[in-house]
Symmetry: C2
Subunit: 331 residues, 2 copies
């Protein structure tokens, strides 16, 4: 069985860890399952000349056992000696500090990229150490940068200007009104090698509880990927990142409102759309508190079920993954 997951950072990483736990530890399927994760690279940035890939690294560290569990991103047992030295040189973005252990990943990746290797290659090499038990694919080997068009000026930025997503997200905590998101470089980007095949050949495609706008939305924005999901022979199952009107984690609400989507389990599913109506979803899981969404979405052609969706720990997340497998069998 082949499962393909489209993922951003923390939410997608934790969901996939639960999925792998369900598949390996619970051993429920009784057959070999390979998992491919197509990861958002829109948040990638150059920082002090180093290529930083927040989502790829969050997924890699989470699945490889190196993640800072409390934060959800970055390395456990982290320190910031190099970053504080770099600051003393007056360089870098003081609001985006790099940990020392994390920095090693960026140094190795940047070295490979400067040698002419692709981001896919670099990711492969980094994963040889972390052995994530899944294949990690960047959504594209070309840089496609998520930028935020500001609705209002802030600090040195004028209204209407675009800033890197990480600046909006990390520096401004998504609190500066955004007029929209731009995928810089997307027109000439291609899905990374293996991405379209992973979707085409999948027995199940999952949209985990990642940010529907700036994570999964950016993956779907790479030319060819949305069409591939729509054309997939496998069922496409999503897990709501919204529980009771609030993003499970992070500031997804601000992103949804920016594109005119209400932050609710129903509205996000409708934003993805039913495959039967030229959308993406065959099925959708909402949390128990959003059980009222189920009949609405079923009427819209999306097979739906209400289940406990808080990813409190690996076992509860594995149970959510089990529900995804189960509902996928019913579409």
């Amino acid at each position: 069985m082949r499962i393909t997951v489209l993922a951003g950072g923390v939410g997608g990483a934790r969901f996939t860890r639960g999925l792998l736990h369900h598949l390996r530890a619970d051993g429920v399927t009784g057959k070999e399952v390979t998992v491919t994760i197509v990861v958002n690279t829109g948040d990638d940035l150059w920082l002090n000349g180093l290529r930083v890939c927040p989502d790829l690294d969050t997924v890699m560290y989470t699945l490889g056992g190196g993640i800072d569990e409390d934060q959800g991103w970055g390395r456990a047992d982290e320190s910031r000696r190099v970053a504080s030295e770099i600051e003393k040189y007056g360089r870098g973005w003081p609001w985006f500090l790099l940990g020392d252990l994390d920095l090693a990943t960026h140094v190795v990746r940047t070295d490979l990229l400067h040698q002419g290797r692709t981001l896919s290659d670099a990711t492969d090499l980094l994963c040889r150490r972390w052995r994530p038990d899944a294949r990690l694919l960047p959504m594209s080997d070309q840089p496609v940068e998520t930028r935020v068009r500001l609705a209002a000026g802030v600090d040195e930025h004028a209204a209407g200007e675009t800033i890197h997503f990480e600046e909006w997200w990390v520096r401004y905590r998504a609190r500066v009104p955004a007029a929209g998101f731009v995928q810089d470089g997307v027109a000439s980007a291609e899905p990374a090698p293996g991405v379209l095949e992973a979707i085409h050949d999948a027995d199940l495609v999952i949209l985990p509880p990642s940010n529907p706008v700036v994570s999964i939305g950016m993956i779907l924005g790479v030319p060819g990927i949305r069409d591939a999901v729509r054309a997939a022979s496998a069922p496409v199952v999503g897990v709501s990142p919204i529980i009771g009107g609030a993003a499970v984690r992070g500031m997804a609400g601000a992103c949804l409102r920016t594109i005119g989507v209400e932050p609710s389990a129903t509205a996000v599913a409708e934003h993805y759309g039913a495959r039967s109506a030229a959308g993406l979803l065959d099925a959708w899981l909402v949390d128990d508190v959003d059980a009222g969404s189920v009949p609405v979405l079923e009427a819209a052609g999306i097979r739906s079920a209400a289940r406990p969706l808080w990813m409190r720990d690996v076992p509860t997340t594995a149970a959510i993954a089990a529900e995804v497998l189960q509902i996928s069998a019913s579409v």
Copy 2:
């Protein structure tokens, strides 16, 4: 008064610190003195995609108060978290570990170089933090790499092959027989901006107790620099790096023997040569134990004196610098 020093790493750095102490703390000259240090960049290397400049950094840290005093190179209070992570990715040279604090310097410099800035510019910017109280100039902005031609095979290297100087020095502790040194890229290299002027305009040129072959020799090998020293209107004074037949520090003996020069205070001075005989030196300081050299060198046209030359600490080194100023006044 303008003093120009041609320096390698530890020896040149410590000497120059003593010189500055003499000029500033002792305040003997009573007039404004500026010090320019032309630094060997032949040992520079790319390591994990980062540009490492061992001699520039040793001089900068020593004069800026950041040096590891015991080692003589690298940063005080250093750790190696990033390097040990990089090793886990199977990358890098395990015999050349980078410290975390030191790494910040390389990250900033590499970022600047990739932005198209010169090594001179990058050095300026780094020095804004360290305020070395002297102007540091790389010998050249073009990479000129000191490579060692092996006289015998070792590990994966065959006899006759050339390897980077740092590999020979750090990995093999200069114990693998060398057939010679090569300055890769020297033909198309130019002195960095300001180097020739600093020599031409100097009131005193000093060859400190740096390695005469792979430090000062490499600086002199950059087209134009040796001629500039020979043509300088200022006296050129050297300090012997050899005391009683042994290099004060490091493995200079192996370098000297490789080029057929006996490791002695006399032979090194003769290797530089008297200016009156198309060489470089007007004067030369030897240690008290090498007092026998003095009449030999005086006969060869090099004003010489025997003085205590062990750079035990800053005050004793300042005293050596005072002797350099003194002998320079007598030529």
